[in-house]
C-alpha cells in the first residue's frame, strides 16, 4: 500500500485504548464541570446531562464486559467469573437508565417507596458479588465442592446483618417516617458496598500490578463513592469543614463514574490481551536477565 492510500487512522488495540482513555478523562472532566460549575441553569437538565454521561460510561463498561466474557469457553473457570461480572454491570446500567426515567416522571414528586432502580442495583450487587465469589473460589477453594448455594448462604447472611442494622437504625430514629423496607434497602447498599469493596480490594492486592486485578478496581471506586454517600446519610456531612465537604463531594461524584470507566478500560485491555496476545502490542513484561 502506498503512503497516499494509507488510512489516516488504524484501529490498533493500543490506539483504541489510548482514545478510550482520553475519552474517559474527558467524560470525567465534563462531569466535574457539570457538577461543580452547573453550566445548565435548569437543575433538571443539568442533572440529566450528568446522568447521560454516567450512562455512557456504564454502557462502555457493560459492552467491554461482554467482549471479555465471550472469549472464554463455558468449561473454563473464568467464564463464570466474567459473565457474572458483566451481568452485574448490565444490571447497574439498567439501574442508571431507570434512574433517568424515574427522574423524568417523578422529578417534582419524589420516588415511590420501591422502584425498579433498587431492583436493578440489588441484582447488580448480587451478580458482582457472585463474580467475586467465583474468583475467590478459584484462588482459594479449588478442592471446595461447595457450589453457588454457599454464595446464596453468604447473601442470606448479608440480608440478616442488614435487617439487624436496619432495626438498630430505626431504634435511634434514622429515616423516621419511612417504611421499614425503605430503611432496609438504604442500609443494604452500604452493607453490599462494604462487603464487595473489601472483597475487591483484597483481590486487587492479590493480583497486584497484574492486569487481572484491574477490573476489580472499578468495584473499589464504587464502594468508595457509596461509602461517602452513606456517611452523608448518617449525618456526617454536618461534621465536615467546608473544605472537606468539597473534597468529599469531588471524590464521591467522580469516583462513582470513574468506577465504570476504570472497569471498562481494564476489561477492554484484558479483551485485547486475551484476543490478540502479543500482537496487541500491550504485553511489556518485566524481562529479567537470566543469562547471568
Amino acid at each position: 500500500m502506498t503512503d497516499s492510500h494509507r488510512p489516516l487512522f488504524q484501529a490498533t488495540p493500543l490506539r483504541i485504548l489510548q482514545i478510550s482513555t482520553a475519552g474517559s478523562l474527558l467524560l470525567l472532566m465534563a462531569l466535574g464541570w457539570i457538577y461543580f460549575a452547573v453550566p445548565i441553569p435548569d437543575a433538571y437538565w443539568n442533572d440529566k446531562a450528568a446522568d447521560i454521561l454516567i450512562i455512557l460510561a456504564s454502557i462502555g463498561a457493560a459492552l467491554a464486559g461482554i467482549r471479555v466474557a465471550r472469549l472464554f469457553k463455558f468449561e473454563e473457570a473464568p467464564w463464570r467469573i466474567w459473565w457474572a461480572f458483566t451481568i452485574g454491570l448490565w444490571c447497574w446500567l439498567g439501574g442508571e437508565i431507570s434512574g433517568l426515567v424515574y427522574d423524568a416522571i417523578y422529578w417534582d414528586t419524589g420516588y415511590p417507596p420501591l422502584t425498579l432502580i433498587d431492583l436493578f442495583w440489588i441484582l447488580g450487587y448480587m451478580w458482582l458479588g457472585l463474580s467475586l465469589y467465583y474468583q475467590y473460589r478459584l484462588i482459594y477453594g479449588r478442592q471446595d465442592k461447595r457450589g453457588t448455594r454457599y454464595y446464596a448462604g453468604l447473601i442470606l447472611l448479608a440480608l440478616l446483618l442488614t435487617a439487624l442494622l436496619t432495626n438498630l437504625a430505626a431504634s435511634v430514629g434514622l429515616a423516621e417516617g419511612y417504611p421499614w423496607i425503605i430503611l432496609f434497602i438504604t442500609v443494604l447498599y452500604p452493607v453490599f458496598d462494604l462487603a464487595e469493596g473489601v472483597g475487591a480490594l483484597r483481590l486487587s492486592l492479590l493480583f497486584g500490578r497484574g492486569h487481572w486485578s484491574r477490573p476489580w478496581w472499578g468495584l473499589i471506586l464504587f464502594a468508595l463513592a457509596d461509602s461517602i454517600n452513606s456517611f452523608y446519610w448518617l449525618g456526617g456531612y454536618a461534621w465536615l469543614s467546608p473544605v472537606m465537604q468539597t473534597i468529599f463531594n469531588v471524590i464521591t461524584n467522580l469516583a462513582y463514574p470513574a468506577g465504570y470507566l476504570v472497569a471498562g478500560l481494564a476489561l477492554l485491555v484484558n479483551y485485547y490481551l486475551i484476543r490478540d496476545g502479543e500482537i496487541a502490542g500491550l504485553i511489556v513484561p518485566k524481562l529479567k536477565d537470566h543469562t547471568k
Partner: protein, 309 residues
C-alpha cells in the same frame, strides 16, 4: 556383538574423514561410539550435543566409568557409531550409569501391557530396556508415570520416540532388563531434575490456565518459547506441558535452561496476575512435588522465590 542398537548402520571408520567424536562435535550432535579392541575389550563413549559426557568399560553386565580421553585416544579396531536423538541419548546415558537388576522374558506386547500397568499401579521408578528382534527400546518410569519423551525405540527404519511406538513392536519374544540406578550418578540426578522440572512446570501451567483461561496460557507459551529460541534448546511449552527433548551435557547447563524457562513463565504470569499470585502458583505447585524432586530443584536453586518478585 555391540551393546546398543546393534542393527543400526554404522559408518566404516575408513569412510569417515574425521574421527566420529570430532564429527559429532562439529555438528553438535548426540551419539554413541562403541569400540572393541583387538584383545576383545569393549568400550563406549557417549556424546551429548557434541560434548563427551561419559566413557565406559563395558562387560556383559556392567559399565565401569573411565576417562573419555582414554576411549578417544584408543585406536579403533572395530567400532560402532550411532547418532542418537537426544531423548535416546539421555536414556542410554542412564542405562550406562545404572546396573541391571532383573531380567524378564515377555511374550509380546500383551505381556508388556500387563507389566506396564503393574508398574504404573505400584508407582515404580526405574529404567527398562527391551530387546525384541531387531528392536531395542528404553523406557524411563518415574513413580509409575512415563513421559512420552522418555521412551525411545530403535527400529530397523530408525529411531522412534513415544510409548505408542513401543507397543507396536511385533516381535514375539521380548527380553526385558530392569536397571537400578545409583542416586549419586549424574545421569540419575539429571533425570530427576528434568522430571521435577517437567512436572512442576505442568502444575504451574495447569493452574495458570484455570485462573486465566486457555487463550492467555497459549499466549504465554508462545512468548516463553520465543524468548528461549535464541538458545537452541529443544525445550517447548505446549498447552500446559513442557516438552524437553534436549540432552544437556551437564547438570548445570540443564539447570541454567530451566531457570531461563521459569524466569520467562514468572515474568509473563506476573504481567497478567501479578507477582504475588504468580509466586503463589509457583509455591503451591512446588509443594506438591515429590521429596526427591524438591531436593533436586532446590540443589539447583530452582525455587519459587527465584522466579517472581
Amino acid at each position: 556383538m555391540w551393546h546398543f542398537f546393534t542393527r543400526a548402520e554404522s559408518p566404516r571408520s575408513t569412510d569417515l574423514p574425521v574421527p566420529p567424536e570430532l564429527e559429532f562435535q562439529g555438528r553438535n550432535a548426540t551419539g554413541l561410539i562403541e569400540k572393541r579392541t583387538a584383545q576383545g575389550e569393549h568400550f563406549a563413549l557417549l556424546l551429548a550435543g557434541g560434548i563427551p559426557i561419559g566413557a565406559y568399560h563395558l562387560s556383559a553386565t556392567t559399565a565401569t566409568p573411565i576417562s573419555p580421553s582414554d576411549v578417544i585416544s584408543m585406536p579403533a579396531g572395530q567400532q560402532h557409531v550411532v547418532e542418537l536423538p537426544d531423548a535416546a541419548g539421555r536414556l542410554v546415558w542412564l542405562a550406562l550409569e545404572s546396573s541391571p537388576k532383573r531380567r524378564l522374558s515377555l511374550s509380546g506386547g500383551k505381556d508388556w501391557q500387563e507389566k506396564r500397568a503393574a508398574w504404573q499401579a505400584s508407582h515404580w521408578s526405574g529404567l527398562v530396556e527391551i530387546l525384541a528382534g531387531a528392536y531395542q527400546a528404553f523406557v524411563f518410569f518415574w513413580q509409575g508415570d512415563i513421559l512420552a519423551v522418555d521412551a525411545a525405540l530403535y527400529t530397523p527404519q530408525g529411531f522412534v520416540a513415544g510409548l505408542s511406538a513401543i507397543e507396536q513392536i511385533d516381535a514375539p519374544q521380548w527380553e526385558v532388563t530392569l536397571y537400578e540406578w545409583q542416586d549419586t550418578s549424574p545421569a540419575y540426578q539429571y533425570f530427576i531434575l528434568r522430571q521435577a522440572t517437567v512436572r512442576w512446570c505442568h502444575k504451574i501451567l495447569r493452574r495458570y490456565q484455570e485462573l486465566v483461561g486457555r487463550n492467555l496460557l497459549l499466549i504465554m507459551d508462545r512468548e516463553v518459547n520465543r524468548s528461549l529460541q535464541p538458545w537452541n534448546w529443544r525445550l517447548e511449552l505446549e498447552d500446559d506441558m513442557l516438552h524437553d527433548a534436549h540432552f544437556f551435557p551437564r547438570l548445570q547447563s540443564a539447570a541454567h535452561a530451566y531457570r531461563a524457562l521459569f524466569m520467562g513463565i514468572g515474568a509473563q504470569m506476573s504481567f497478567m496476575i501479578g507477582d504475588q499470585m504468580a509466586q503463589r502458583l509457583f509455591s503451591e505447585a512446588f509443594e506438591t512435588n515429590l521429596t526427591e524432586e524438591i531436593a533436586a530443584l532446590q540443589t539447583q536453586r530452582l525455587i519459587p522465590a527465584a522466579f517472581t518478585d
